[in-house]
Amino acid sequence: MASIARKNLFEDIPRFLVAQAGIMFAVSLVTIQLGVLKGFTRSTALLVDHSNADLWVASKEMVHLELTSSMPVEQVVRAQKVPGVERAEALIIRSSIWRNASGQITPIRIFGFSPNSRIFAGWDVPQGSLSDLKQPYTVMVDQSSLRNAGLSKVGDQGNIGSLPARLVGLSLSTQSIASSVFVFTSLENATAYSTAGLNTSVNCTRNSEGNLACTNTFENAPLNASPVTPPTPRTLNLADPISYVLIRAQTGENLIQLKQRLEAALPNVRVYTQAEIASQTRTYWTERTGVGFILGLGAAVGFIVGMVIVGQILYASVSDHLREFGTLKAMGASNWVIYSVILEQALWMAVLGYLPSMALCIGLGAWTQAAKGIMILITPATGGGIFVLTVAMCVGSALFAVQKVTRVDPAIVFKA
């Protein structure tokens, strides 16, 4: 049985293609905006997602993963003694400047962790190995950040502050779109980089209760004091600043109870589960910055543009076929039959606009991820949601056209 809707739609192929191009533009705009928003949001906490830590011990002032106050290494020792903790490790996050071999500078975020375990570094290492980071002044960067850091391959050299840095490996899917280039290194190297150009001294005194109270002092070194060959990074002491203590709980341990025990044992900290710290980080970037609003606005504009385009196309189509709709009405077709023709047209337009748009966006997302490290995240749920949105957009637009055909006078059929 012939479908008037389908036949009318495909009657004029050039016009149909122009219409579909408009719908594809709108669907792609919505998909890319939402994909970038989701990709952006996800990327801000990728490191948390990849980690194998059950709990994250952070300063009470922590805002998001990369914005927190320091705590001393001593907290790691204390945490390790809390019942239920299998292993506690330090994580250092610092900001610095990367200078490549040609002198180009780039802001970076240094992540110092223990290369001996995979509690923090749960991500894939496509080139090199984590154990290479045990060597002095060695680093890894995300595969997608090579160009941003002015690097081309493993083995390239650069400087962080006044200290050398040699690229010994690459990480995969670790870079946040929202942040500077992530540089991964050992705790010792990270401490050395963060204190490069500073002289440090530790002063300890015994208080009246017999406990040691230590203070780390950092002073700018004289400009001519920087040695040509830097010393091997020193081992961390109890007073060195770190950003987080990562906890792996013993098997079967109740994490809620362990959280409470850790918060009681460690002063001035708050303990987060992996999901909690990831959520807090993502919420910060989407709600406390304008990024979520701007990308959401872009998606909304795409939706509105799509509605206008589809609305115009369907309205024009109905106007062109008004006599045919009048004929159907005169013959005795119910309003619902007329509406179903228009709605079927809208659904065809939605499906035939959605499929190529989605293919285009998935291809574009793969390219931006590979070339720029920018993730356009289109999950099955996102794809499904955008399909529903596309159908809603087309059907909503069809209502304009339905209004026109509702008012058509069937007596129009008797006008030659």
Binding site: A2, K7, E11, L328, A330, G332, S334, A411, V413, A416
Partner: protein
């Protein structure tokens, strides 16, 4: 034009010529109010209009298109509505077809007072009982000849292979079986009108309403269409109401009603 088409047109044309040379004088519609209420007469009437008036109002101006029109058409008759342009013929046709609601009077079609029906019931009544033929053909250009008829059948709840078979049979009746897959733009004016007639016959309606069915056709095709309309009434028992300026149709008509200034004139 294929040999089959020429043959069909010649066959239809010769029949039409013999009809047009018929000597019988067409009856003129005369109003017979005294017949109202007679059950036997009612049952023999396909169309009964009483005191039908139509007033259009636009921008505060009032225009009376029809004034107290009474009209009876017997089942199986061919009734012509003639008159000068602007006399109200199309308005009367629209009212008698249940497309327009009169501002005065009432209309009974096949015994049903259609002026009392709701718009949805009226649409249902049209669907079941009336076939339409238009001056501009009003075929769906995106559909083939066969599909145009299938659409009408689908509206009436006939679908699938049954609809296809019936649509093909109707095309055969109008001599266009070989044009089933053609789109309207590939057909001549006469062929389009024959497809439109086949569509009007879909679902076997009792009433056929035709608006200037031969106006856009040349003499040869006009005769062919007139013959088809005559066959509908005389061989298939359909009641055919035709608005026309075409004097060629008068010879096949049972009744001719003349309208002037919105009023029915005896002729």
């Amino acid at each position: 034009m294929t040999a089959t088409q020429i043959d069909v047109l010649q066959r239809v044309g010769s029949q039409a010529t013999s009809t047009l040379t018929r000597k019988s004088k067409p009856k003129v519609d005369t109003l017979a109010p005294e017949d109202c209420g007679v059950i036997a007469a009612e049952s023999s009437r396909a169309i009964a209009a009483r005191g039908v008036g139509m007033v259009y109002q636009s921008s505060g101006e009032r225009f009376q298109a029809l004034k107290g029109v009474d009209l009876d058409v017997k089942r199986g008759d061919i009734q012509l509505l003639m008159g000068p342009s602007g006399s109200g013929k199309t308005t009367l046709l629209s009212i008698l077809a249940g497309i327009l609601t009169p501002t005065q009077g009432n209309v009974r079609l096949l015994g049903e007072d259609i002026t009392r029906l709701s718009s949805s019931k009226l649409a249902q009544f049209r669907l079941q009982n009336i076939g339409f033929i238009f001056q501009g053909f009003n075929l769906f250009p995106a559909l083939t000849a066969l599909e145009n008829i299938e659409v009408a059948l689908k509206l009436k709840g006939i679908r699938g292979s049954i609809a296809r078979k019936e649509a093909y049979g109707l095309l055969e009746q109008v001599g266009l079986a070989d044009k089933a897959k053609q789109h309207p733009q590939d057909l001549s004016g006469g062929q389009k009108q024959r497809v439109a007639i086949a569509r009007a016959l879909a679902g076997n309606p009792q009433l056929i309403m035709a608006d200037e069915p031969t106006a856009a056709l040349d003499s040869h095709n006009g005769h062919a269409v007139i013959e088809l309309l005559r066959n509908l009434a005389k061989e298939k028992g359909r009641t055919v109401l035709i608005v026309t300026h075409d004097p060629r149709i008068i010879d096949v008509a049972d009744n001719v009603a003349y309208l002037e200034d919105g009023m029915l004139q005896a002729n």
